[in-house]
Symmetry: D2
Subunit: 307 residues, 4 copies
């Protein structure tokens, strides 16, 4: 047989699980999208169609829902760790499990007046609006010995309306761009950071707090950097996280440059003093880089956008 099987994985993708936890009248929501990918002794199913080693993807789906009850959902990362450990330790042919999770955040609906004539104000303890800002993501991989946890976020759209310049670049025969000394800098942040927790013997990070802090440092660095290039801003965002959070060794960003072009209003006898912009869709600059703690080996995949 001149062809052979290479890396392979399978599982149920995008299991949408919502978990309500009741603390008296006060409810809490965890809203996740969980994808399971399993690898191991899977040659036969590819070569002959024998499913003797195949736990059905339907079963991996059932396990997600059952585990939401059995273990609860303390955090996306902790939930993924329960799932990955289960598949690798309970199924002999499975040697590696990769759990990917998206998390959607909700906030409580505020009825600030407090003088509802319909039902007591207490009732809003079960009413929520979905925050649309970013999507939190996490990937947990386990091979029976070592853990790899990569967390992050996507679609966090940010803008600085000043304190950004772009000049002093290379000019070749195809260069027509004019230098800019005061421009809008805007991007949709996509970031993935890798934790240095890799073993059950280590103390596990506080996943919820770590997320919140990494996000905060990233936003602060974005806001506070006087930017000469989006690359410089990216590096500041990454190094701020590495410097502030000892549990994180590496972070990769994929940052589209959401171009806001100053509209030429001179044909209409108007001066555009950095006031009116056209927000363009495509094309866009795309800046991607890894920032890591000196001495560690990079492991976050380079491709965060796909061919």
């Amino acid at each position: 047989m001149p062809t052979i099987l290479g890396q392979n994985q399978y599982g149920k993708a995008e299991n949408r699980v919502v978990k309500i936890t009741r603390d008296g009248d006060t409810h809490h929501i965890k809203d996740l999208n969980v994808s399971v990918a399993l690898s191991g002794d899977m040659d036969d199913v590819h070569y002959s169609g024998s499913n003797a080693n195949v736990l059905p993807t339907d079963t991996t789906k059932n396990t997600v829902y059952a585990f939401a009850k059995e273990h609860g959902i303390e955090s996306a990362e902790q939930f993924g760790i329960h799932l990955a450990r289960h598949f690798v330790s309970s199924q002999e042919p499975i040697h590696r499990a990769r759990i990917r999770i998206e998390e959607y955040a909700w906030e409580r609906i505020v009825t600030s007046d407090g003088n509802s004539k319909f039902i007591g104000a207490d009732e809003v303890k079960h009413s929520f609006a979905r925050k649309g800002m970013e999507t939190r993501v996490s990937q947990i991989t386990y091979d029976g010995e070592r853990w790899e946890v990569i967390s992050g976020l996507k679609d966090l759209t940010v803008m600085n309306s000043t304190n950004s310049e772009f000049w002093g670049y290379v000019k070749d025969k195809y260069t027509t761009l004019k230098e800019a000394y005061d421009r809008i800098l805007a991007t949709d942040v996509s970031a993935r950071w890798r934790y240095n927790w890799t073993s059950d013997e280590q103390r596990m990070p506080n996943w919820e707090k770590s997320y919140e802090q990494a996000r905060k440092h990233m936003l602060q660095a974005f806001a506070e950097t006087y930017s000469l290039s989006l690359q410089q801003t990216l590096y500041q965002m990454g190094s701020r996280i590495i410097n502030s959070r000892s549990e994180i060794d590496e972070i990769r960003f994929s940052l589209p440059n959401n171009h806001h072009f100053l509209v030429d209003l001179e044909p209409f006898g108007l001066k555009n003093d950095n006031e009116v912009y056209f927000a363009a869709d495509r094309p866009y600059g795309l800046i991607e880089a890894t920032v890591l703690r000196d001495g560690v080996e990079p492991k976050v995949p380079v491709d965060m956008t796909n061919l």
Copy 2:
């Protein structure tokens, strides 16, 4: 000629305009997506291709950007009023202008520590993150005499994790649904309300405050209604707005019932005590209705979803 021309309109759609207003160091953002549709004496361009009455769509785009400078963007509604008045009053063949606007909200990035070592905390006066929650929408129509302003929002996802029931419904031979005495009620609110401001002689509403208040009442009614059906909740949301805001005469909702199905965990020996749900995508219930002030004639189009 056995065929004739019926209603027609044209213009430039989805002009993305971002306006930065500088109040000293503090910047303000208005981020709009503006679509222009013009109607009038347009038979010739359809029958023969003569453009003698056609103001180019490119010109309508330019006008959007020029007006952002000339008039500023006080509110989406006010901006649309400037545009609609201009097209109808300045172009003889144009008898009617309809301006549709989507508005995207931004919030300031907070650097709560305040002890940045890079740049002064003041700098965040120009740094923003885009709120992803709902999209605010508005439609302004003008025929040279009367105004019609319909405003609203879409994609505001809300959930009550209890206080919802569904029972006592019709059962026919195709009915298999089990009655529910405690279910999740979730929807993506799409609402359009019509203002009773129709003439330049009337005092114009405070568009920004009206939006904020209508949204608040709608959310409160959603949170506070003990629901026996999504229709009942819808009606409460609508009547709360009509009762609270005298400038609004009519509101139409399109509310998908975002089904959250309780997962059957019994095969795994587990009891699901309203804890673990599967959030389904399709199909979904879709509840649509108009609520209006007694005595007024409904004018918001019935079809908020399209064929």
Copy 3:
């Protein structure tokens, strides 16, 4: 009570049904997305939450699947007619049913070599690839007496690479556009045509053939019209259908002008002789109009895009 209920409707939206019909070894696919909207005596459910008149949306979903078995799916229109008639005639509180259907087309996979060494060539009688071109749509409305059938298509992207001009238009102070004497004309056709079949006493059109012919005439008119404006092309597309198909009385189009801008290559010492274009996303011109048989009353809704 100062507020009242206006027009309202409800039902299950986006029921995805795939029907396989076996003609010996040869299989046939119908792949539909069916949305049900019912209206009638529904005041109580809005005012008090009483579901006594409410057939559950879940039941309307079940009916779609049961009818695919009981009646088969001869065409989207015929299937919608079965459903609409059922809801109105079997449920006393239901006075009006509106069925919307999207249909996705499939074509057989060709194994042209015919010398497969795995399985007989006959086997491809059950193998299909989904055509991605347009989505066929239909809306069937029934009030117990009269039928309204509106069919059409969306997302049919077409382009003429020449034979399009645009000049002789109005110039105001915001006009900067240069006249064009040879441009690309491209659009995503969205069309809805209304049949004059309205009663069970009339002979029903051949829905499948009518769709195929209307589509053909529309494409031919697009291809063969030397265009001085997209409006002119639109009118030709519509009148060709009305003139050729006596069963159709009215058609409405929503045609974005998919701008293809000639790239300025002069800065690089190159001449762009109508060769290299930038395909823009937003903004876009949007041309919408109804073409109808002389003497008939227009009924297709004006708004094919939503606020």
Copy 4:
């Protein structure tokens, strides 16, 4: 400095270029979406914001359009090779260029009647409809010495309405799935194959023919395989390509299992004899694997879907 810069790349993404080639009256279209990513001596721009080594992303965009004129677009692959070679060879700080291209196919509009009364039938030589089926993709990488070309397609939706089974799988405590002896097998094919052309000294493949043939073999294998698992079908699709096309050494697939669930019609007294299916959206099985020529080293990235 405790943090360092890792892998990084930048460029303009999603440059939409449409090239019209005139062969007398007959026009030809190439419709591409081109993304450029450059790497090299880029430490300074990240650390200090100095753009001294940075060719602007705007220039990379201009180059795409200029090259469409200067070199034409013989194929996506050949166009990418021109671009990658240019950036690496003309810019000293650039050591590696990666060009990604999506290609959209068009077909000529047929006016089969041939008796148009408007304009001669010849005119359709410039009229096109966009085929919506799959999107062709390609990624060309060059480091100044070696080439890597990975091509493929995405969103090719296929279905076998029979000749698929699934049974004999592992059952654990979370398994509830019933075995299936005749099911629908449907997927959206996403495939990336790597060419063994790596050097200018080698004879270049015929990219257009190779794509067409690889696509054909893949579809045939899908249609002709009697499937006991989607993994088995995947392997047949891959090995058919490797065995038939000597220029291709490796192929990776990401195949969602587009579930079509047989609807239970028994509650309505109906028997569903593999006729009526519910086409589900989420969750879905996801099967991913590489098939490669024996002895070659796999290089196509494992992650075709992203975290």
